[in-house]
């Protein structure tokens, strides 16, 4: 873990390296921007920008069938786009690991973000995804590590939810 709490994206990057997670798929979010840049700069990681988050569920399943570990980076609104796709890792017991930046909770200023932000945890759980929520920067490293270990060691689906309090609410007034 880094000394500066603001460096939590670097903590996530270190866990991805440690766990040999090299296929990154994302629909970008401002909260994931630094992590995406760190991954893109790494020659032995593949970073794929998606048109919609469900593509990422398919790409990661294909990658794992070929022996490669991956992670899907998305924001909570994207969770809704993945729902039927999550049947693939669930039905086949293929590991699925995602890191979700939450909107629609702590200090949200955009009312359009509330329904999916508040619905995302329930939607994921309904599809059999185990949730690991992070509120504080000092917990990011351990939590991401535990969630990744659980997904890949047990061939199941896990999601880390990075709370809006951690990321910082956008300044709507």
């Amino acid at each position: 873990m880094t000394e500066n709490p603001a460096n939590w994206p670097s903590d996530i990057f270190a866990v991805l390296r440690e766990r040999e997670i090299s296929q990154i798929c994302h629909v970008p979010d401002a909260g994931h921007d630094r992590l995406i840049r760190l991954c893109t700069a790494q020659n032995d990681m593949s970073v794929i920008t998606l048109t919609t988050e469900e593509e990422g569920v398919g790409i990661l399943a294909g990658a794992w069938l070929g022996g490669r570990r991956g992670a899907l980076l998305m924001q909570s609104s994207g969770v809704g786009n993945t729902i039927n796709a999550l049947a693939l890792p669930a039905a086949c017991r293929i590991p699925f690991f995602t890191i979700v930046t939450m909107r629609g909770e702590w200090g949200e200023g955009n009312p359009w973000q509330l329904p999916m932000g508040q619905g995302a945890p329930g939607a994921l759980e309904a599809m059999g995804v185990t949730l690991f929520r992070v509120e504080r920067a000092e917990d990011v490293s351990d939590t991401v590590n535990a969630a990744a270990a659980q997904a890949f060691n047990n061939q199941c689906s896990t999601a880390v939810l990075l709370s809006q309090r951690l990321i910082g609410a956008k300044g709507f007034k």
């Binding site: 296929q23 593949s46 794929i48 920008t49 998606l50 048109t51 919609t52 469900e54 593509e55 990422g56 569920v57 398919g58 790409i59 990661l60 399943a61 294909g62 990658a63 794992w64 069938l65 070929g66 022996g67 490669r68 991956g70 039927n84 796709a85 049947a87 693939l88 039905a91 086949c92 017991r93 293929i94």
Partner: protein, 195 residues
């Protein structure tokens, strides 16, 4: 009714006839998976029986993880229409080892034969080209199919081949429906044998 006249199972048989040891196939939900299962029970074929719209994405992820293999996606027009954004994503990556064959019967065959958008004015090969996949063709007869085999098996990808097939629905032949068995069998064939 489909504008296609080729028989889907014959198309899949012809496409898979020259398969090399390094070929990995990903089959799409429904009839395409039945066609692959009817052709051969090969552990290097992974057939989706759900997750509609994901087949090309699974192939793309597999192609990236296995550059030493050729990856062939075989799916239908309905599955492709649901995952059209994945063509733009394939185009960004330009995987040299990925080929996609669409069995276009212009209908949702498994649900009663309701027409899909390709029964109207939608042209999947044109969409693939517009997405940024230059090698995208539509074939309607056996001669064109033979001409397309090098694109599917040998040429630098990505290749996108739309085969216009008839509305005929051959008998269902299931691939393994138990997902954990199907993926374990595939991974063992692939990762243990170092093909």
């Amino acid at each position: 009714m489909s504008s296609g006249t080729m028989k889907r199972r014959e198309v899949v048989g012809t496409v898979l006839a020259p398969r090399r040891r390094n070929l990995l196939t990903v089959g799409g939900l429904g009839s395409s998976s039945w066609d692959i299962a009817a052709t051969a029970d090969n552990p290097q074929d992974f057939c989706l029986v759900g997750g509609m719209g994901l087949t090309v994405s699974v192939g793309l992820g597999l192609a990236g993880a296995r550059p030493q293999n050729r990856v062939l996606v075989i799916t239908g027009d309905g599955d492709m229409l649901m995952g059209m954004g994945s063509l733009a994503t394939v185009a960004q990556i330009q995987p040299r080892n990925l080929a996609i064959v669409i069995l276009d019967n212009e209908m949702f065959g498994e649900t009663g034969g309701q027409p899909t958008h390709t029964a109207g004015v939608t042209d999947l090969a044109a969409i693939a080209k517009g997405a940024g996949i230059p090698t995208a063709v539509t074939i309607r007869d056996a001669v064109s199919l033979q001409d397309a085999l090098p694109l599917i098996h040998d040429a630098d990808g990505p290749a996108f081949v739309v085969a216009k097939v008839s509305a005929e629905m051959p008998p269902t032949v299931y691939p393994p429906l138990d997902g954990p068995f199907a993926k374990d069998r595939f991974r063992m064939a692939l990762l243990d044998a170092d093909v």
